[in-house]
C-alpha cells in the first residue's frame, strides 16, 4: 500500500498541475476526513434502481463481469488475460492513476473501497469485455468516465486490461 500511495502521490506531483489534479482528486477523495469518497455515493444512487435488480449471479467468479469487486468495471478483465483481479498480466504495468469505487461483498456483507487500475503498456487484451455503466458519467466528469484511457503516468498510454484492487473497507 505504501508503494501505491507513494507512486500515486509522486505521479500526481510530477505530472499534473494543481488544476488537473483537481479533476482527478474527485476520483479519490473529497475532504480531509477521507469520507465521503465521491464514487461511494454511486452505490447509494444505484440502489433501488433496475440496474441493481438484474444479473449479479456470478458474484464469486472473478472471470465474469458479475464478480462482486467488479461492480463498476469497464474494459477487459485482467483476470482473463493472464493477470488477476488485482494483478497485471505479465508485461503490463499497473497505471499509477485510477479511479475509486465502492463494491459490496456479499460474502462478508461489507462495502469495500476499490481502486480501478488499468494495466497499460501492451495492446488490448481483448478477453472478457465488461461494460458496467453503473454510475458512469460523461467526460466532463472525467473521474467517473470509464471510456477514458486511464494510463496517465504509465510508461505508455496503451490500454491492456482492467483490475479492481481492494483499498480498504468503507
Amino acid at each position: 500500500m505504501d508503494k501505491f500511495v507513494e507512486s500515486l502521490t509522486r505521479s500526481i506531483a510530477q505530472r499534473t498541475s494543481r488544476r488537473s489534479f483537481l479533476a482527478r482528486l474527485g476520483t479519490f477523495i473529497l475532504g480531509a476526513a477521507a469520507i465521503p469518497l465521491l464514487p461511494v455515493d454511486r452505490v447509494a444512487r444505484a440502489q433501488g434502481t433496475d440496474f441493481k435488480k438484474s444479473a449479479h449471479k456470478n458474484v464469486n467468479d472473478d472471470l465474469t463481469c458479475d464478480y462482486w469487486k467488479y461492480c463498476a468495471i469497464d474494459g477487459f478483465l485482467c483476470t482473463c488475460c493472464g493477470g488477476d483481479s488485482h494483478d497485471c498480466p505479465p508485461g503490463a504495468t499497473p497505471s499509477p492513476t485510477s479511479w475509486v469505487g465502492t463494491c459490496h461483498n456479499p460474502g462478508d456483507n461489507r462495502d469495500y473501497i476499490v481502486s480501478y487500475r488499468d494495466c497499460c503498456g501492451k495492446g488490448a487484451c481483448g478477453k472478457c469485455l465488461c461494460g458496467n455503466t453503473e454510475g458512469e458519467m460523461p467526460i466532463y466528469r472525467a473521474q467517473l468516465d470509464s471510456d477514458l484511457i486511464w494510463c496517465f503516468g504509465a510508461p505508455t498510454m496503451v490500454y491492456h486490461c482492467s483490475t479492481s484492487e481492494i483499498v480498504g473497507v468503507k
Binding site: R19, S20, F51, E136, I139, Y140, C151, M157
Partner: protein, 393 residues
C-alpha cells in the same frame, strides 16, 4: 500436366538469360497479337477518386475492435448504400472534414512500434477526392485518449482552425492552423473537457459542475477571452450526454433522463434557453430515455431534433436504442416515432433536402438508412467493423 512440366523446364532453361527486354517484347506480343479477336478490351488499371461529397454521404469511424490502434473511416453514400472509400488512422482517432469539402483530417496517436515505443500525436491531412496524404501537422503528445467521441476535436466554420482536446489529465485545447499547416499553441480549460467550435474564433468545453466554458481566441491561436457560465444543469441529478448536437453557435444537449437543454453560444458566455423534455409522464412510466453513443442529432433545415431512445432504468445510458424520436425543436412536439429494425448505438441525420436518418448498430455491425423525418426504412449496409461515430460532410 505435360505442358506444365515443359513450362517448368523452359523456366529452368532461361534462368541465365538476360530477359528484361524480352519480357517487354513478349508482353507487347501477348497484348497486341490476340487483340484482333478479343471481345473485351484490355483493362486500364487506375486509382479511382471521389467526387465532391454529397449531403447524404456518411463517414463512419470504425475502432477495428479489439485492436483500436489502427482505426478506419468508411465513406458510404447513404443513397446507394455503396462503400466509396476508406481512410485510415491510429489510436483513439478523431476525424474532421473541412467545411469546403476539400480536405479530411485524422487526428490521432501513433507509437513507433505499433503498440509500444515513442508516442507521436499528429494531424494527418488527406485530399478529400484522392484520399492521398497531403501532409502532417505535429501536435503535443497530449491528446485526450478516449473511445472516440465527437467534440474531442472540432473545426471552425471557416475551416481555418482545428481544435484538439487534450488531457494529461490536465485539460487544454490545442489550436492548429490548418491553412498555415502548423500547431499554434494551447489554451488551458481547467475543470472542463472536450471542445466544440461555435464560431470562427470561438469554442466551448463542458465543465464538471454543469457549467460551460466559452473561449475566444485570435488568429495566432492566443486566448483573448474566456468565460465560464454558471452551472446550466446539475450533473449529479441528471447529467447531460457529452456529445450534444452542435449546429452553428447553438448546441442541443440531452440528459440521461431525457431533458433537452438548448444553449446559445453566440455570445462571450453560454446562455441556456428554456429546457424541455423528450419524455412525457406516460413515456417516463414506460421507462423511455435516451441512450447509446451518439444519441442526438439535429437537422437545421427542418428544425427537427432526433434522439435515440430505449426503455431502461437508471444507468442504462449506453443501452442500444430501439426507436428514434423526432421533435420539432421549436414547438417541442414529437413529430415521429421511428421503430428501428436493428437497435442502434449512434444516429445522425443528414442535412440534405431529402434527408436520411442513419442508424448505426454495433452488434451486429450495421448501418441502416431511414427517410427523415417520416422514418421509412430505406436499406442497410453491413460489416463496418466496430463502428462508433457518424460524421457528415
Amino acid at each position: 500436366m505435360a505442358e506444365y512440366s515443359f513450362a517448368s523446364v523452359v523456366l529452368m532453361l532461361i534462368k541465365r538469360i538476360e530477359i528484361v527486354a524480352m519480357l517487354a517484347v513478349a508482353i507487347l506480343l501477348l497484348v497486341g497479337a490476340p487483340s484482333a479477336r478479343a471481345q473485351l478490351p484490355a483493362d486500364q488499371m487506375t486509382t479511382l477518386t471521389l467526387p465532391d461529397p454529397k449531403p447524404n454521404w456518411v463517414y463512419i469511424m470504425d475502432l477495428q475492435f479489439p485492436v483500436n490502434m489502427l482505426q478506419k473511416i468508411w465513406i458510404i453514400d447513404g443513397e446507394t448504400r455503396k462503400l466509396l472509400g476508406t481512410v485510415f488512422g491510429g489510436y483513439e482517432a478523431n476525424f474532421e472534414i473541412s467545411p469546403d469539402h476539400r480536405e479530411m483530417y485524422m487526428i490521432d496517436t501513433y507509437y513507433s512500434r505499433g503498440w509500444r515505443g515513442d508516442r507521436t500525436d499528429v494531424v494527418t491531412i488527406f485530399d478529400a477526392h484522392t484520399t492521398n496524404v497531403l501532409g502532417e501537422i505535429a501536435l503535443p503528445p497530449k491528446r485526450l485518449l478516449i473511445v472516440p467521441k465527437r467534440n474531442t476535436t472540432s473545426i471552425t466554420p471557416d475551416g481555418r482552425f482545428l481544435l484538439v482536446a487534450n488531457m494529461t489529465p490536465a485539460t487544454s485545447v490545442s489550436i492548429v492552423d490548418l491553412k498555415g499547416r502548423k500547431f499554434l499553441g494551447e489554451i488551458e480549460t481547467p475543470g472542463c473537457a472536450q471542445v466544440a467550435a461555435t464560431g470562427n474564433r470561438q469554442f466551448f468545453s463542458m465543465c464538471a459542475d454543469g457549467s460551460m466554458l466559452t473561449v475566444q481566441f485570435d488568429d495566432s491561436g492566443k486566448q483573448i477571452a474566456k468565460s465560464q457560465s454558471k452551472p446550466l444543469f446539475d450533473p449529479n441529478t441528471d447529467p447531460m450526454f457529452d456529445q450534444p448536437a452542435v449546429v452553428g453557435n447553438k448546441a442541443y444537449f440531452v440528459s440521461y433522463h431525457g431533458k433537452v437543454l438548448p444553449v446559445d453560444f453566440s455570445g462571450p458566455e453560454a446562455a441556456a434557453q428554456p429546457s424541455w423534455s423528450l419524455v412525457d409522464d406516460k413515456d417516463v412510466a414506460q421507462k423511455w430515455r435516451p441512450g447509446g453513443w451518439q444519441t442526438v442529432t439535429y437537422q437545421a433545415k427542418s428544425g427537427i431534433l432526433y434522439a435515440l431512445m430505449h426503455q431502461g432504468g437508471e444507468w442504462t445510458h449506453k443501452q442500444f436504442g430501439t426507436e428514434v424520436w423526432a421533435f420539432n425543436a421549436q414547438t417541442h412536439a414529437r413529430v415521429q416515432r421511428i421503430k428501428l429494425k436493428t437497435p442502434g448505438y449512434s444516429i445522425r441525420v443528414s442535412n440534405a433536402d431529402k434527408p436520411i436518418l442513419f442508424d448505426m448498430s454495433l452488434l451486429p455491425s450495421k448501418l441502416e438508412t431511414y427517410s427523415a423525418p417520416d422514418g421509412k426504412f430505406l436499406g442497410e449496409y453491413d460489416d463496418i467493423g466496430s463502428p462508433f461515430l457518424l460524421y457528415g460532410p
